[in-house]
Amino acid sequence: MSNTLASKRDFDIKKFLSQNSIWLVLVIMVIGLQIVSPVFLSTNNLRTMLEGESIKGILAFGIMWTILSKGIDLGAGSIVALVSVITASLVQPIGVANKLFPEMAALPGWAAAIVGIAIGALIGAIVGTIIAYTKIPPFIATLGTQLICRALAKIYSTQPVSNLSPDFRIFAKGKLFEIIPSIVIIFLIIFAISGFMLTQTRFGKNIYAIGGNDHAARVAGINVERNLIKVYIWSAVCAAIGGVLLAARTGSADPSTYGLNYELDAIAAATIGGTSHTGGVARISGVLAGILVLGVINNGLVLLSVDDNMSNVIKGIIIVGAVIIDMRKNAAKK
């Protein structure tokens, strides 16, 4: 047996289906929805749906790393708020109404975006360091980020920051080939980067190992602390990108409502996509599917004009169900 395995890679249909069951669910949902509501697959509707899910999706590609490392990031939504108000305040042209800093000239859009992302990275580095070195539960540490960043956003600006410069709004408003919104392009780029890091770099392998068994990872010479800090930086950077895009898309930034509960949707997407909360299991394609499934549910419930509260009930059931199935799948391996 051992001599023949050299480089043979069997294709196992059962394994393939079990790993990709979420895509199957997605296809079924799309077909079903198309039958009940024929506008579903129209270009317009698809674009609206993707645009709407992109920002939470970007958050999910960050948060999945924290879950993979046996942690969580509850701060992402508040980072969206903080970064969006700060970047927005930097791109208000002189002379517009309610300008936060009336005397300050607007920064170029790209510079403001970089500032926003840098702020995200800094927050991630701080919370990551706290988690890695004090060993406090990530749930608590990031609950702290959630409260603090939301409050900082409100302190920074007591009211919404609006009238943003067009060269900043282009990040979300541009279109590729006149049809694909730039926000969706950025979503796909983050997907690609996250996936690349996960499977093609030492960093990704290290996080799988840490999530699977951090003691063993340490013995194998992996610097657990440094890697955890990187994870929380990445998650916060994703949230910051989300914040920049949300401001760019809406042309405004409201410190009290922006990003509210985004982290929960992102966690839900990562979870439905098979990211295990016991650590060590995640697939980027699963998370992509999870984001799309949530998007289709959101969109479908709107198309079917299901009441908002009811749609949350349905989402809740789907998330819990997904985790039950996922735990059973992984229980045998641990």
Binding site: S2, S7, T199, T201, R202, V219
Partner: protein, 498 residues
């Protein structure tokens, strides 16, 4: 004193997957006596006791307690029947009070409410009975380990058992507390309670036991009254076996010193350990469980803080703070706890193989190179796995171990530390690992091997470093090493200073 036995265990067999831990052993205990169980680590003493009180279910065999055949489904029913056990490892609930710990699971009640007053009162009486001066409301976590052990003993007494099992009860006690414990034991004896006493400390055994039963490798060896035995006779019974041919030692030239350790200490785990390790040499750490052998290895490998001493590799002082540092100095360590800090169960055989060496595969990672290396070692070490993508958790213990050996070979270590490399794996894989380690030594690597199995130590080692309770008691060369000498040092006798 009645001549009949309060407890008889006949032909007890206990099999674990791949290992036969007990091969049909017996034990007969008279009421009102202290019956000592002796044997090396892994002889089966603790396993036998766990079968008795229902932690394990014996594969076959008969247990007769107070004239009736019994089989306890769990420890609680054993306690209710009158057998309580003081475990080797304590498991108190640190955040609750002493008295809640004592009465846990059987709190006195008034209606549906817990009767805290009675609980406290009973606790005070109990402590008085055993002469323990403690506040029942003190938090368990505030006590010293020794005091916790005494609480544990008091708890066992509180069951009014007719049989008590003490597994290494004195391991954490100071001398005066040991005296205290012995008084309690005398007191219990006078109440016709039978006590099964497991200890590695010879002086204790001969002081308090009436009868001694010896086990070896899961087999019953002998049983006799204590006055008919002495330390030498007992050691011979414990280790006296013919050496099997499992250890294919290759004689190879021993080269220059690679590792030099001077006065190494780590907290209370061990202190002032010095030795040298040379190329091509297998240095074994022998000693009983808790002697500090693993801790020395962990300190060298950076898993544990060094509180004193120096470590040199090839004449250069090392400052290792974490395993990462050790690995970059070409030191590898196969840890004792394969599941706890060895394998990453969810990851594949290939990923587990290359884990300590990911730097080698560049950016982006070269998956084809990873697969090539993994498959190379899987073939070389004869790891039996369906394919390289199989999660390592699905492999047998021996094959997991071989994968982990591959992980360390991949860093091309100068020094390889292997801690209990053959624990819990089947005989075939054991022999493969032995020959692998010997071959590595022959290739000029320096090996530190920690083993609790004397035959393994005697068969493999070029030199044996013996530890006893955190102190180095001797270093023995291969030609002088016998079971008796090692056992003597391991139980506390120090080597004559030369």
């Amino acid at each position: 004193m009645s001549e009949e036995y309060v407890l008889e265990m006949h032909d007890i067999v206990k099999e674990f997957p791949g290992v036969k831990a007990l091969k049909g052993v017996q034990l007969k205990v008279r009421p009102g006596t202290v019956h000592a169980l002796m044997g090396e680590n892994g002889a089966g003493k603790s396993t036998l006791m766990k079968c008795l009180i229902g932690i394990y279910k014996a594969t076959s065999g008969k247990i007769i307690f107070q004239g009736q055949e019994v089989s306890f489904p769990n420890t609680l029913s054993a306690m209710q029947a009158g057998i309580s056990m003081i475990h080797q490892e304590l498991s108190p609930v640190m955040e609750r009070s002493v008295c809640e710990n004592v009465w846990m699971g059987r709190e006195p009640r008034k209606g549906i409410r817990v009767d805290h007053k009675k609980m406290r009162q009973d606790c005070r009486e109990l402590f008085q009975k055993v002469g323990l001066d403690l506040d029942p409301d003190e938090k368990m976590g505030n006590l010293t380990v020794a005091k916790m052990q005494m609480v544990e003993i008091a708890k066992a007494v509180s069951f009014d058992s007719s049989g008590g099992i003490m597994d290494e009860p004195t391991s954490a006690l100071t001398e005066s507390e040991v005296e205290h414990l012995f008084k309690i034991i005398e007191d219990l004896k006078s109440k016709n309670v039978a006590i099964i006493y497991i200890s590695h400390k010879m002086d204790e055994i001969f002081r308090i036991s009436d009868e001694i039963t010896v086990y070896r490798d899961g087999e019953y060896i002998a049983s006799d009254r204590a006055e008919n035995l002495n330390i030498d006779k007992l050691i011979t019974l414990m280790v006296g076996r013919t050496m099997d041919k499992m250890f294919p030692k290759i004689e190879c030239p021993i080269g220059e010193t690679v590792l030099k350790v001077e006065g190494l200490s780590s907290g209370r785990a061990f202190h002032d350990v010095s030795f040298e390790l040379r190329r091509g040499e297998i240095l074994c750490f022998a000693g009983l469980v808790g002697a500090g052998r693993t801790e020395i290895a962990e300190t060298i490998f950076g898993m544990r803080t060094r509180t004193a001493g120096k470590i040199y590799k090839e004449g250069k002082e090392l400052h290792i703070k974490c395993p990462e540092d050790a690995i970059s100095n070409k030191i590898g360590m196969l840890t004792e706890d394969r599941r706890g800090n060895g394998i990453i169960g969810l990851l594949s055989v290939a990923e587990n193989t290359v884990l300590a060496n990911l730097k080698k595969y560049g950016f982006p990672l070269s998956h084809s190179k990873i697969r090539a290396d993994a498959s190379d070692f899987v073939n070389k070490l004869n790891v039996k796995t369906p394919n390289l993508e199989t999660p390592i958790a699905n492999l047998s213990g021996g094959n997991q171990q071989k994968t982990l050996v591959a992980r360390w070979l991949l860093i091309d270590p100068d020094i390889l530390i292997v801690d209990e490399p053959t624990r819990g794996i089947d005989v075939g894989a054991k022999a493969e690992i032995h020959s692998l380690i010997t071959k590595l030594a022959a290739e000029g690597k320096a090996i530190i091997m920690i083993s609790s199995e004397l035959p393994e130590v005697l068969g493999m080692a070029d030199r044996v470093l013996v530890m006893h309770e955190g102190t180095m008691t001797g270093i023995v060369d291969r030609e002088d090493a016998t079971s008796e000498i090692i056992m003597k040092y391991a139980t506390g006798e120090t080597a004559p200073q030369s």
